[in-house]
């Protein structure tokens, strides 16, 4: 993996071959393995039903894995019940205790740990300060806004100084404006407290903007784990390329001698040898819409015809058809000199840098 550094610290948390199979067509979580460093903010990203929430529940001990290990500091915690794991879990629904005040909610975990009165009061006050809710201690959850309830849930989870903070789609119940605010707020709280965090989301934007590394899951399997830049620019699988950001897929033929690529008979920019899949000559070439340049016809490149042009505010979306009938989407900045070329019906040439394409076995 590209993120391996020479002096990487030993992983704080490691997941090995974690599998949860409830007897469906395929395991909900399928041999998942990855490491989390201390203080890292990891995103677990994937479409609904990909197994990310199940993974979180396996972590918390609310479900038992069919097989595999989750170790924290070298100790396997799989056999421990949830109340002996020392993890902080923040639910999508917040799951606050409605019959308790904010202070009682946050103090709950400390009380169970038999922490003294004074220390409890001090730590609760500190946790409420960390989520900027000092002065709200006497309120009931029902008297708070959604964003405030969310922050109480976070305070309640971090006050016990958990080994890892688990966040289950914490932003999806908030309205759009609050969501943007809480995105930075959560990352800010994590930076200040330094708690290792696993953040489950289906929203690529949230994952890209908040996480140190993103683990992309699909159909119970780990597709790729890496920094936001890595998963966006160097997608390891076609699924990742399509799920994170937009991507054009061009069915092409690979000639290994060149190496050269042909798409419906037209040559594409030649890829570096290191990019080629291990075997096969039928490949999918993936290029981001914003990486493609438009040029006047005849200036060299992939010949295409403009089919549609849509102005979407901050950019212009152009849809083109290749000679073989495959379609390509291109995003142009409004000030791009190629904008006048994008007239429906016009013939143009397409070009892109060889570093901007990914090639996968079809």
């Amino acid at each position: 993996m590209t993120d391996a550094q020479p002096s990487a610290p030993p992983p704080h948390i490691s997941i090995r071959a974690l599998t949860f199979d409830y007897g469906g067509k395929r395991p909900a979580v399928d041999a998942l393995s990855f490491d989390i460093a201390k203080g890292e903010f990891i995103g677990l990203l994937g479409p609904s039903g990909c197994g990310k929430s199940t993974t979180l529940r396996l972590f918390a001990g609310l479900m038992a894995p069919t097989s595999g290990q989750i170790s924290i500091g070298g100790q396997d915690i799989v056999s421990r019940p949830p109340w002996e794991r020392n993890l902080g879990l923040v639910f999508q629904s917040y799951a606050l205790f409605p019959h308790m005040t904010v202070t009682q909610n946050v103090a709950f975990g400390l009380k169970l740990r038999k922490i003294g009165k004074e220390e409890t009061a001090a730590r609760v006050a500190e946790a409420l300060r960390a989520v900027r809710l000092d002065g709200f201690g006497h309120r009931r959850p029902s008297e708070l806004s959604g964003g405030q309830q969310q922050r109480v849930a976070i305070a309640r989870a971090i006050v016990i100084e958990p080994e890892i903070l688990l966040l289950d789609e914490p932003l999806s119940n908030l309205d759009a404006r609050l969501r943007d605010e809480m995105r930075f707020e959560i990352r800010d709280i994590q930076n200040r407290t330094g708690i290792t965090t696993l953040f489950v989301t289906h929203d690529q934007q949230e994952a890209l903007t908040m996480c140190d590394r993103i683990a992309v899951m699909n159909a119970g399997r780990l597709e790729q784990i890496g920094t936001p830049t890595e998963v966006f620019d160097r997608a390891a699988t076609p699924f990742v390329a399509n799920f994170i950001g937009r991507a054009n897929t061009l069915r092409s033929t690979l000639d290994r001698n060149g190496p050269s690529l042909l798409c419906d008979g037209q040559p594409l920019p030649a890829p570096p040898a290191s990019e080629l899949p291990a075997s096969g000559s039928d490949v999918s070439v993936m290029v981001r819409p914003h990486a493609i340049r438009l040029r006047p016809a005849g200036s060299g490149g992939v010949a295409a015809t403009v089919a549609r042009r849509v102005f979407v505010g901050n950019m212009i979306e152009v849809e083109l058809t290749l000679t073989g009938g495959q379609t390509v989407a291109v995003e142009l900045q409004p000030n791009d000199p190629a904008v006048p070329l994008a007239i429906p019906g016009a013939a143009v040439d397409l070009d892109w840098s060889r570093d901007d394409m990914r090639i996968f076995a079809a």
Partner: protein, 263 residues
């Protein structure tokens, strides 16, 4: 046209209400009668039949028995119903759906049949005309209701709050006592009240297993009405209504009746 329909609809609703409440109203009026037979309207007014009922030893003994049985039934119905509802709602075990449905069977079976079955089991066991016998028989009727109400309350609560407590370090019993039970209070009050009312009004099962040594108020009233019809019957009816109403009022005041049923 719309006006006419609206008018008819109103008339219909009033007719339904009249159908339900006029007999009750007539009974309340008759209970204040001075006549020595049931007639409407009474020729004169008095409270003498109230005095008769209150000084009638058979009725007062029956009232006492019924009250004691209702209280015990309410308590046991909760004591047995709560763990059952919790297991059926929160735990996963083989045969859960079957048991969930089977537990409602007493609601469907004719009370006559239940009564006969209970009598055949209780006679050899020496439970006929005893407190334990009556309490057990009433529990057969009240438990399905208790379990059902508590199950609904539990399922409306959702499991995530309990799961949150567990991840914070609460063991299952601590979670139940500190988190689940306080949030379950409306259901607890409602199911106990329903159990008490059902037991207090229960007649069919009681008829099979009461005896000269121990009888309940509804059975005593039933026996009395069988022989005589004087305004005492109306007084007893008013009394039964008042007691049931009092229980409903307590529920309404403490948790709110609609809320108690998880709405």
């Amino acid at each position: 046209m719309a006006r006419l329909i609206s008018l008819l609809a109103r008339a219909y609703v009033m007719a339904v209400f009249a159908f339900i409440f006029i007999p009750l109203l007539i009974i309340v009026v008759i209970s204040f009668s001075a006549d020595s037979y049931l007639s409407f309207p009474p020729s004169d007014w008095s409270l003498k039949w109230y005095g008769e009922v209150l000084s009638n030893e058979g009725f007062m003994q029956g009232l006492k028995n019924s009250a004691i049985i209702a209280a015990i039934v309410a308590l046991l119905s909760l004591g047995f119903g709560l763990p059952a509802a919790y297991a059926l709602e929160r735990l996963d075990f083989p045969g859960r759906t079957l048991i969930r449905n089977l537990i409602l069977a007493p609601l469907i079976l004719p009370a006559m049949m239940l009564g006969l079955g209970i009598l055949m089991v209780f006679t050899p066991a020496g439970l006929v005309a005893t407190y334990p016998g009556l309490v057990l028989a009433h529990l057969v009727m009240t438990l399905p209701f208790s379990v059902r109400i508590l199950q609904t309350t539990l399922s409306n609560l959702g499991a995530d709050v309990e799961e949150a407590a567990m991840t914070l370090g609460a063991r299952p019993l601590q979670t139940f006592l500190r988190i689940t039970l306080p949030r379950l209070m409306p259901g607890v009050v409602a199911s106990s009240a329903i159990a008490a009312i059902l037991s207090f009004d229960e007649i069919v099962l009681s008829l099979f297993i009461v005896g000269p040594r121990l009888t309940t108020l509804p059975v005593a009233i039933y026996r009395y009405v069988d022989e005589r019809t004087d305004p005492m019957v109306a007084v007893l009816a008013v009394l039964l209504i008042a007691i049931s109403l009092a229980i409903v009022l307590v529920v309404e005041r403490s948790v709110g009746f609609a809320k108690a049923f998880g709405r």
